[in-house]
């Protein structure tokens, strides 16, 4: 039996609300790559809240471990599946995973030129202000 019915109810309500909003967002957003992010929201937030609620209410250790394992597996596998899906979409649309000749992709760790210039301007303004 439950010892914390209010806490469990709140956790489950929040988990279901996040899942509903994420599913609705996934259906509304038209960009395929943006759509991919909504399942991560469900897995991480809703899954975590459901796992905590089960952990609070369930006395059986085996059931607790199975739920934690289920949510943990989903957490790990969903990120792999999301990457595989994004890769499949890109290869299907452009023919290759690699950047196209007409495509400009900033190297990892480097800011776009516009951001670098605006950061420099802000720093100069701060120095002049002092």
């Amino acid at each position: 039996m439950t010892h914390h019915p209010l806490v469990t109810g709140m956790l489950l309500g929040l988990a279901v609300a996040i899942a509903l909003l994420s599913a609705a967002g996934m259906a509304v957003i038209r960009n395929t790559y943006q759509r991919l992010h909504f399942s991560a929201l469900v897995v991480s937030l809703s899954g975590g809240l459901i796992a905590v609620a089960v952990w609070i209410e369930q006395a059986d250790a085996q059931a607790r471990i199975k739920v934690i394992l289920t949510v943990g597996l989903l957490f790990v596998m969903n990120s792999i599946l999301t990457h595989a899906t994004a890769r499949a979409v890109r290869i299907r649309r452009t023919g290759s995973w690699d950047p196209q000749p007409d495509e400009h992709i900033e190297p990892l760790g480097q800011q776009p030129a516009a951001q670098r210039h605006s950061a420099g301007r802000r720093a100069r303004r701060r120095r002049r202000g002092k």
């Binding site: 489950l12 309500g13 599913a23 395929t32 469900v42 597996l73 969903n78 499949a88 979409v89 299907r92």
Partner: protein
Amino acid sequence: MNVWLWAALALLAAMVPCLIACTRGELEDRLIGLEMAGVIVTFELVLLAQGYQQSFLYDLPLMLAILSFGGGMTFARFVERWL
């Protein structure tokens, strides 16, 4: 009905947008709807297992989590190469 079964019933509504995504748009968008539906059904089974207080029911979401990953990867491979 306890709070777990009410939550399971409410979570069923999240299947409607997945169904809409699976029936409209490009093939890639449908695949994303299918993956989201797999995640939601897994949580649905967790809630039902807890709601009915049957220990053996916890095996179902665990198996579904593993199998939906395999299914999703296979679909993604097919979308990438052959479909």
